[in-house]
Symmetry: C2
Subunit: 414 residues, 2 copies
């Protein structure tokens, strides 16, 4: 077929020219024309409801709960977004990943306060009602845990779903008040170069954040996907730092203290540092790198036989917009640029799609994202050479899925 | 203050230049610097959960349930999105408006089939698994019921919330298969000019849709905001016709029949026609017009006193992208262009925002959207002159909110 490389990956233009039937995609059954009467038409349905929930037939679509570390409390660990069961780019709030250091506090918004203090001219305290009085802004932004995909750093790659490996990643529309507005109101002392943001969870999770960037991009988020924040996403107030490590997006935010340096909080020394082979740990490596993952197909799915498929997945970068995603089905011998559907927004996930006519022989699928700043993804080998054993953070290597002739998919280091 | 018109509405550039404090926005309290210890830090929180729900402190954020007509069955009516309690543009699926003609059927996706038949070369039947095999596309798109805002057509405008009046409008990211692909696979008979789409609810809701546009823009939606459709949004399959009347976005879709004309189904003769003053009814007026509504402030909110506020609301058009939204605070004597935040996408809601320094005197707030095709909103009087008494569909007149000196907000015809 014209336009199809020998690898079987189509350039997107040619699929549109050829039509899907020409690509061997038809899986429907030809039937006699008849006016069917489905059983559901025979009985009146359920009435309207005040807050909808998923179909009971989709009860398997759940967050994947796991303890990130040996359990110190029931609320210490994470749950992952089941990326392999979803499509598009927005994550429903109920399936947004969680990473808690001591559980989800139950906070009454009317009693919650935000304090801005430290190196400021006027320490200020805000109720949530105060914050709701300010101008707001909205952005569609991903949040990714620094430890996302870390399991791929193991010598034997995990044979688990794309969600179980990469699901410490979610994307929402967040709405709130620009942090810079409130910092200006408090009056920034010229000596202030960092700020400490602290949550009011039982871990008092706190992180040091460079002030200049926080002032420029930080948002005090009050709404997620239209509605007020969910408890496990920081209700009633979360610091949003678009593109930065997930844990900097402090949940249940109750204070911001301006300082002249980082405080080296327990959460940025015992965790979230990156040990190098030299024995020196890299600290405050805060922006999440360019990354992508093919989600369809991935481990747990079976490619039923030779023929047409759509390869699709997610790409994102903390540095800005995704510029392109290249896909290979032959382990890197040839690459084809995938289509990016929908708006491609800075610090947001975007969905890439590429038609693939599988010849039924073993294939090695990989995707490689490049962002607008030119950042791209290293190979697994190149990334691991830069890190000490056990270093799990900022793993953004190319994900490799091996497709066997029988259609099974496995996770491989390639 | 430079940049502020005599009406008090700021041009957005000047707010940024002046800083918020200069605009009189500060509502925080100055406090002594101290390191607070919120109560929530004293007790370990709740563990991770498999599917999150809103905070119990936000239990009032619900769809507004009402019967659109005298109740013929518990499942006949609508529920509205509480727009006045939300922000941003995405509607969480649990709060997406509903309009059911005989309830929400309980459908097992594995038993559901889509039939494409009528004037086609090959009638085809698809299971949901079949459809999931095809290439997909994603779009952020609003759906608006043709009857949305119809209550404003009454001589006395309703004194209810923005959601209660305009909440038959929601916006989601939808993902599915392009309808055109499947129509081409079935082989379109040259005589086919329309198609009939039918739902498998107990009302067998069916609509005639011009084939050319359906082929071009129609999507067989399987996912909403990342996850599979909710039952009340058509699980497992919905026809998405971006920008067209909500009822054309057939839920629980089970067949598409190609025809050489409309069928004049009960749902497009007893309802969804527009009676003109001449006594002639306009039929198949299918695209939703340019529209906007100020949501903050609106009825039910109180503007507590002179000072700084943000006016914000939603704008949308079935014809394409919103090009601009103009806002007046003096009943149309002067208009100021509002800022559109976030990506402005075709057939999607966008959020407009405008700073306003209220002088504490009576004010009349209005917004007027203009889309990229030049469509805009009529006044209430101009719109009503075109329609017979009781005609509720396609009401897209300018919404007027009267602010009294005591800060109360009322809905007025102006």
């Amino acid at each position: 077929m014209a336009g199809k490389g020998k690898s079987g990956a189509f350039h997107r233009r040619h699929l549109l020219q050829a039509g899907l039937a020409g690509a061997g995609a038809a899986v429907s059954s030809e039937v006699m024309a008849a006016d069917p009467v489905p059983p559901a038409t025979q009985t009146p349905g359920k009435p309207m409801s005040s807050y909808g929930v998923p179909s009971p037939h989709e009860a398997n679509v759940q967050r994947i709960i796991g303890a990130a570390y040996p359990v110190v409390s029931p609320g210490t660990g994470s749950s992952r977004t089941p990326l392999h069961l979803l499509d598009g780019t927005i994550t429903p709030a109920g399936l947004h990943f969680e990473r808690h250091h001591n559980g989800v506090p139950n906070i009454d918004a009317s009693a919650h306060r935000l304090l801005i203090h430290g190196l400021v001219a006027r320490p200020l305290e805000f109720s949530i009602d105060d914050l709701l009085h300010y101008p707001r802004t909205s952005r569609i932004v991903f949040i990714e845990c620094a430890g996302n995909s870390g399991a791929n750093g193991a010598p034997q790659p995990p044979q688990t779903s794309a969600g179980a490996i990469h699901g410490l990643l979610s994307c929402s529309e967040w709405t709130g008040v620009k942090l810079g507005l409130l910092l200006e109101e408090a009056g920034i002392d010229p000596r202030a170069t960092w700020m400490i943001a602290e949550g009011s969870d039982a871990a008092s999770l706190s992180r040091s954040i460079p002030l200049a960037q926080a002032r420029e991009v930080g948002i005090l988020a009050l709404f997620q996907n239209g509605e007020r924040l969910r408890p496990e996403q920081g209700y009633p107030l979360r610091l949003l730092m678009p593109g930065w490590e997930g844990n900097l997006n402090i949940k249940w935010l109750h204070r911001i203290k301006l300082t002249d340096g980082p405080v080296y909080a327990k959460d940025e020394t015992s965790k979230y540092t990156e040990l190098q082979p030299s024995g020196i740990a890299r600290q405050f490596d805060l922006v999440m790198g360019a990354k992508s993952v093919i989600i369809r197909p991935s481990v747990g799915m079976t490619v039923p036989g030779a023929g047409f498929y759509e390869i699709s997945g997610l790409a994102w970068s903390g540095h800005g917009r995704i510029a392109r995603v290249d896909v290979t089905v032959d382990g890197g011998q040839s690459w084809t640029e995938a289509e990016l559907t929908g708006p491609v927004l800075p610090q947001a996930t975007c969905r890439f799609r590429l038609p693939w006519d599988w010849n039924g022989k073993a294939a090695l699928l990989q995707s490689r994202a490049t962002d607008e700043k030119g950042n791209t993804q290293p190979t697994h080998t190149a990334l691991m050479a830069q890190r000490a054993v056990g270093q799990i953070y900022h793993y953004n290597a190319i994900q490799s899925w091996q497709i066997e002739a029988d259609g099974t998919v496995s996770n491989v280091h390639a």
